[in-house]
């Protein structure tokens, strides 16, 4: 591939992936300016290493890996505790489905599906932003970018078992936040055990 052809391929791929790159960067950084910086640095690094990429089909995975690694390196430099040494949450696991599911309504109502239909982009974005960085990163790697647990473990430098447990916790926390947001927005009524008591 000539240098011009390589440049054309690179540019076309980056443009095709730009919204996903930017979206991932925004979810990771929770800040538009930082997301732009991150994507910009990622594209620069990717171009510098592009000649080493032997399999062009793996370009998307390769550049997302650069993006996440760049984010993690930056965070390690700025706040060493943010990714690895976060405190483990003691919260019990939480399931939106178990909160919403009403077996006796099974045949004529589906409150779980109704809630999913009502949840807005902003609701999920807000819940993702509310997660601790270490949990958010693993969730974005696996759930948004489709990494395997082994790939996420490799990128994060963690054992696969840690990725699995962080992912479970991240999902539980995300669902708890969505539940609280949905209640605050009046999308669902408080459950009996959560209703305020008088006196």
């Amino acid at each position: 591939m000539t240098k011009d052809a390589a440049g054309a391929f690179f540019r076309a791929e980056v443009e095709r992936l730009m919204d996903r790159l930017y979206g991932t960067a925004l979810r990771l950084t929770c800040n538009r300016a930082d997301a732009e910086d991150l994507v910009s640095e990622t594209v620069t690094k990717a171009w510098a290493g592009f000649s080493q990429l032997s399999d062009r089909k793996s370009f998307p995975k390769w550049i997302f890996r650069i993006l996440v690694n760049t984010f993690i390196s930056e965070r390690r430099r700025a706040r060493p505790e943010s990714i690895e040494d976060m405190s483990l949450s003691d919260e019990e696991s939480f399931s939106l489905f178990e909160k919403l599911h009403q077996p006796f309504l099974l045949w004529w109502s589906n409150p779980e599906q109704e809630l999913i239909n009502k949840l807005l982009r902003e609701d999920i974005e807000q819940a993702l932003s509310g997660l601790q960085e270490g949990y958010r990163t693993v969730l974005i790697l696996v759930e948004v970018n489709g990494c395997s647990y082994a790939e996420a473990a490799d990128i994060l430098g963690l054992p696969v078992g840690t990725v699995r447990s962080r992912l479970n916790r991240a999902r539980s926390m995300l669902q708890r936040m969505l539940w609280k947001q949905a209640q605050a927005a009046g999308l669902i009524a408080p459950t009996r055990d959560e209703e305020p008591t008088n006196g």
Binding site: R11, V14, D19, E36, S40, H101, E112, Q113, I124, V144
Partner: protein, 83 residues
């Protein structure tokens, strides 16, 4: 919960729910996947739960994509102009 689905006596609802995310993430081996799928065919509660988690997961995944119009016009556009 706790009962066994009619078509599969080798896996319980608790086991299915414990592995539902690994199942959706494609992180379980073929035999266990097969057991779960057979269980889901015969268990309405577990198939509802799995469908819910799958839909929520898809919702989160969709929110991972954000248009970057300002970025395209700004700094990122300048970066791409180099190629």
């Amino acid at each position: 919960m706790g009962r066994r689905a009619d078509k599969d006596v080798t896996i319980t609802c608790e086991e299915v729910i414990a592995h539902v995310f690994e199942y959706l993430d494609g992180e379980i081996d073929a035999p266990r996947r097969s057991h779960i799928e057979r269980h889901l065919e015969g268990c309405r509660a577990c198939s509802s739960r799995t469908a819910f988690e799958k839909a929520l997961r898809a919702g989160v995944r969709r929110r991972g994509v954000t248009e970057a119009p300002e970025a395209r016009r700004g700094r990122l556009g300048a970066v791409l102009d180099r190629f």
